[in-house]
Assembly symmetry: D2
Homo-oligomer: 344 residues x 4
Amino acid sequence: MKVSVIGATGYAGAELLAILHRHRQVEVCHITSESHTGVKISDLYPHFRGIYDMTLESMKDSESIGKDSDAVFIALPHGHAMKVGKILQDTDAKIIDLGADYRFNDTSVYEKWYNVEHTHKDAKRVYGLAELYRDKIKDAKIIGNAGCFTTASILALAPLVKNHLVDINTIIIDAKSGVSGAGRGAKQANLLPELYDSFKAYNVAHHRHTPEIEQALSEIGGENITLNFTPHLVPMSRGILATCYANLKENVKPEDVDSAYQNLYGDEYFIRLLGRGGYPATKDVRGSNYCDIAWHIDERTNRVIALSAIDNLVKGAAGQAVQNFNIAFGIDEKEGLDVVPMYP
Amino acid sequence: MKVSVIGATGYAGAELLAILHRHRQVEVCHITSESHTGVKISDLYPHFRGIYDMTLESMKDSESIGKDSDAVFIALPHGHAMKVGKILQDTDAKIIDLGADYRFNDTSVYEKWYNVEHTHKDAKRVYGLAELYRDKIKDAKIIGNAGCFTTASILALAPLVKNHLVDINTIIIDAKSGVSGAGRGAKQANLLPELYDSFKAYNVAHHRHTPEIEQALSEIGGENITLNFTPHLVPMSRGILATCYANLKENVKPEDVDSAYQNLYGDEYFIRLLGRGGYPATKDVRGSNYCDIAWHIDERTNRVIALSAIDNLVKGAAGQAVQNFNIAFGIDEKEGLDVVPMYP
Amino acid sequence: MKVSVIGATGYAGAELLAILHRHRQVEVCHITSESHTGVKISDLYPHFRGIYDMTLESMKDSESIGKDSDAVFIALPHGHAMKVGKILQDTDAKIIDLGADYRFNDTSVYEKWYNVEHTHKDAKRVYGLAELYRDKIKDAKIIGNAGCFTTASILALAPLVKNHLVDINTIIIDAKSGVSGAGRGAKQANLLPELYDSFKAYNVAHHRHTPEIEQALSEIGGENITLNFTPHLVPMSRGILATCYANLKENVKPEDVDSAYQNLYGDEYFIRLLGRGGYPATKDVRGSNYCDIAWHIDERTNRVIALSAIDNLVKGAAGQAVQNFNIAFGIDEKEGLDVVPMYP
Amino acid sequence: MKVSVIGATGYAGAELLAILHRHRQVEVCHITSESHTGVKISDLYPHFRGIYDMTLESMKDSESIGKDSDAVFIALPHGHAMKVGKILQDTDAKIIDLGADYRFNDTSVYEKWYNVEHTHKDAKRVYGLAELYRDKIKDAKIIGNAGCFTTASILALAPLVKNHLVDINTIIIDAKSGVSGAGRGAKQANLLPELYDSFKAYNVAHHRHTPEIEQALSEIGGENITLNFTPHLVPMSRGILATCYANLKENVKPEDVDSAYQNLYGDEYFIRLLGRGGYPATKDVRGSNYCDIAWHIDERTNRVIALSAIDNLVKGAAGQAVQNFNIAFGIDEKEGLDVVPMYP
């Protein structure tokens, strides 16, 4: 099968190429970058030398890229993918967008939080969080790959919400991400000397992953959920940990919580349940598509604290995109993704 | 004035010596270590070469150390300080304990959380969080210096609790600390390769700083407070960030929150208010005694999110100890502590 | 094919298991640890959960392990492998030792530098640096896998020495390694707070990789070489960079140097030549078996400066071991090793 | 005394302000930035909040700045300081330039390596490496503060060269620096994800500190010295380690080397001799003006390996500038600089 990557020079695009190199059923045929058209990808990313020495093309002729491809991955900033999606719509290629353009059912929510007009409102799209939307992904033409913070947060909370174990008005997500999530653009704030030995929050009460989490959990729980989401920046390269709080409803027993996780995720290859009292660490999933999940119950306050760890560039972006691709094409979901996390 | 340090070889003890070197009114007369008696401190900490080449003594003869000293700083593991405190009680020396032994009004709380019998229950002690207990510290014989997480957490929440702006049943503290907080003991879990590029929670629902935070906030708010406290380990050396959540009571306006912080801390030198919408970063306080505080209001959920940043070894330990020392002896509170944070 | 790993709980052992998971022609049948016999490897390394949940055995019955295995990898501290090797010698299993016991032709050199009596002097062994000793490895029974610093150093210098381009009395290797090279043992000196934001040399003029480098370069150059080797510790987890200096002989032209590298390594898959003026970075090879090499000529001093970068745990240990295994069994040399380095 | 800082917004400028805050005999009267004129320094560097809230001025009216000041520190990119220096020349202010414009006796060397025309060739200037040029600094009008790599390198090698203990044709300096040396400009290459867990060399055989080192060592040794200098980038914020190699001349004994260091530096407060066999670490000097020095002798190759560690922003820039300032004005050399390095 032939696949192309529109916008291959960001960290997510590069991670995608690395994963596709392991995938035994695909061949990468086009990779694009508007700012580096004509440049070899290995000149921008020397770690690709000898592995990917392809030249970056322009995405201007997206249509012919679509015609050459069974699937097109889009790794562009939000607002740009929908333009490409509109063009590719009439090709046979399936579309997997790693950005936000196709994640929202209600495009007015997108428009409000992203401050951009949505120009492809009638796109037939599905939300690309593999474990929870697998059936829909199977038949999808356009997949709006779930975001990084959202993947960690939704997977941690879904069993609680689905089984109505918690008071939905009490959900707080305190999330922490490595700096690769901020992209490869040159910003003073992300220089090593600025971030080294430093820790801080950002976008409190305003991060764009908030409505995406709310959409999914509302669907899963069957009622409208509004919650707090607070991201923080960790002085490391990769990884997200989400610490999720909620009040348990009356009479909910610890075993009910255990069952909720076991029932929803017991058969999932990429979700590893560490059980009640466990401690996921981002390093244990680094470079892999795993999401490690554990939960704690504080009897003093009757709160559940759910913890989840992912690699933001893999399960939070490129890995999940390939997982969705595999699902959409009926390939073994693990293909290209069955690697041991890198430790230490 | 003459001061001594019992237990000088941990990170807090070493930081204390560094601060005392800048203090123009003290001379360090005794430093002790049971495991390194007879060794020069600069052999254990080469950064002290030429600055402190003193030899570590045993603390066995605490009484004579107390007689030589105007003040004795104790930086021992919990359970050990109270033994020394009992001996020093009858000397003229003031005692500043950096550990937990003298932090609790109700020693049964201490005994429950620390799993140790308290053997100095009648000690006349005050809680050493300078900004909130200054008046009591002035006359104190024994000061139980506030813990690191607790200092950050209490200072962030005190204005809200004191002014009854939040529902006290909704307080959640999600805290993050650099690894120096775990001490200098050789543990596999704290090796650089293990922690590098990793992030995780620990001691969820069971950390010993929980009851200490509850004690202080309950006193400040005048009602019993039970809350969630969740610590995390950041792959960095120094610094604590506390992210504190609480539901605002009805009709509380953003300006009420602003005023609460301004009124309580407006005149405090070591508390820097970044205002509503600000973002404290641990790097901005690194190596200093500052506590930077900001707050956000999420109108969607009617929650306040308060953020505070400290250096765990300074404002969270040795710096606060010297601040308490200065208060207790009527010295300018800034003496020895008026330094610019180290950046970058 | 069946393989076993004696001493699976160090960083090199764990990396080996990660690589073997990708290898399509092997099955791991025994893994051992004396200090953790009976424990699941995933309890020691949670990143293995769901991938390797095997139980660690004792190596006491090495003979039966050998009989079950086509190959046995040994990842024990030096001095211990030769005892196992002696036992395994009479089984059909090939032996790949990741330690130093089988690296030296002249065991008296080993005994002098390692301060241990060699008890398996008559072992038929070959030196396991794949690119330079491939022909010998093909028929080997016992392979003494090259060390980490030595691999980087020898590969960088071999073309110069082989072609007699440099004055062999002027060779200086200034090498830098991530901390994973120091192993997983709990040592105060390797705690994150100790190493973070720090850089230093160690074992100057006395590091045990010195005679190993000298042995190989002397063989390659056909004359006895004595050189300087200086290791340094970098505050990072993985990676080695070797900066190698030597005076060019008279009349050696830059093009001669270029040709020497091209001729020796032009066809090597795992050696990537960045050419004259290039800059290898450890990150570009992280998690992979590549060795990136470049060279510079300083016309002012007539010195060549050769640079090489490897991942110490892969090309410097487990990756090279699998590469040697593949060679010894006539398998495609890339099997299990053809991965994109992890970036960023 | 009144001092001003021209170009206060780089890392060296900020460090200078931090040091001047501790200095009991100075008051900062002007700070400038062309790109941030009118902005408060604490808006650019939040760690200065409450300490320095001064507004940045333009340096356009340098002359009046000079008239207001007893000394002017210049922390501009090379090529810019000499313009300011020319204007300030006729004021009473002493000038301490942290850049390269006033470091070279022979401005043609400067012009060749920096590729800029020197427009202030007749400036009466002295080289500002305090320990070796103290007498000249006492009477100086313009001080060309020594560079960071150069300070570490020259201090490590001066005793060997001065006492003619080494073959001057064999000097090789392999130096390593934290990333703060690259400045605060937004560059993709210096983003945390790019540098984290990475190590590499740069500017091999072409770094501009080479001729500066050669100038000083040639003066000290009394003969022209040409040498190799190779810088590397360490994934940390602060610190430089220089590893210096040279062949010992015949009949030089280890004790001769010891004496050379002891005689030259025995009385220097800011140079700490760790002796033969010692290991300086950048962390042991972090945040301080110390230069820690040790040396090793490799009897196998008859080479001496000298090691030195400094904080690049302190002894390698701002600290040395204040030390020079103190010397020039007859103030105690330690004033403002007598702090304990920050550990851990």
